[in-house]
Symmetry: C2
Subunit: 131 residues, 2 copies
DNA sequence: TCAAATAGATTACGGATGTAATATGTTTTT
DNA sequence: AAAAACATATTACATCCGTAATCTATTTGA
């Protein structure tokens, strides 16, 4: 468990675009995000550069097209989600997942199928403890 | 759903102290937090002042002791937790609580009792939908 | 009463963040 | 080959944040 660099709100959007498309160009990120945010392309390039500096992204150059970088994540979505989740859990719920889960289940809209799915997951988790 | 002011990590610690003790003095906050963090008293005073400026805290003066302020929250813990939770949910899980819940249940340590409790809450939620 | 202690108010300062614009260098296009 | 387009790199700038120190006014102890 090492310390991951801090990823800001805006940077998270960029990372989500890259995790779902990598390797991809800046323009692909910009196009992907055009559905989601209203940032100028320059803003997105800035965010990409900050993520490069933080070593959250890397890039390669295609010999065919030496002009355009192809970015890819250096950290997996899973580990970033985990780190961000732990941070949230500690900040708001003193690190107690039971409290947090109970709270979310009560506060969120969940369909009947969602509820069934979660019960399923809980049961599987229980099974694993037994065996 | 109005927009709450932004509460930073460090400010959350202060707010948790005040929610659990209000109304309380700066020194009570400092003492409470001495178990949890290693900040200088001055640092905590700064945080209290920022929270005053953001209108997250208010204070009263005791006629007996006109020197010391007694701080109290202007926002409930519940609404702040809700806002922070929504922010996290959107940043990391695209606002989808099912995904988030499934993820946490799988990743976190939960005792058998925790699991039973969560199943209970899920069942109650299901009941409410039916009726 | 005068000095020391203390509470709150103001100021500090470097780094992160949101949100870009400008500068520079390399391809294309004409 | 010169100009236009485009990609990346650098710079900008206000605000927030972590982490305090200093200033000011009041209270209290000697």
């Amino acid at each position: 468990m090492q310390k991951l660099p801090q990823i800001s709100d805006a940077e998270w959007q960029v990372m989500k675009a890259i995790w779902s498309q990598a390797p991809c160009t800046a323009n692909q990120v910009i196009e992907y995000l055009s559905e989601i945010v209203t940032w100028q392309p320059k803003t997105i390039k800035t965010l990409i550069n900050r993520l490069l500096k933080k070593k959250v992204l890397g890039f390669k150059i295609d010999p065919q097209d030496k002009k355009t970088y192809h970015y890819y994540p250096l950290l997996s979505e899973k580990e970033c989600v985990r780190a961000e989740s732990q941070s949230f859990l500690h900040r708001v719920f003193d690190g107690l997942p039971q409290i947090m889960l109970a709270n979310f289940i009560e506060e969120c809209e969940l369909s009947r199928e969602d509820i069934a799915g979660l019960k399923q997951i809980l049961e599987e988790k229980e099974q694993k403890k037994t065996t």
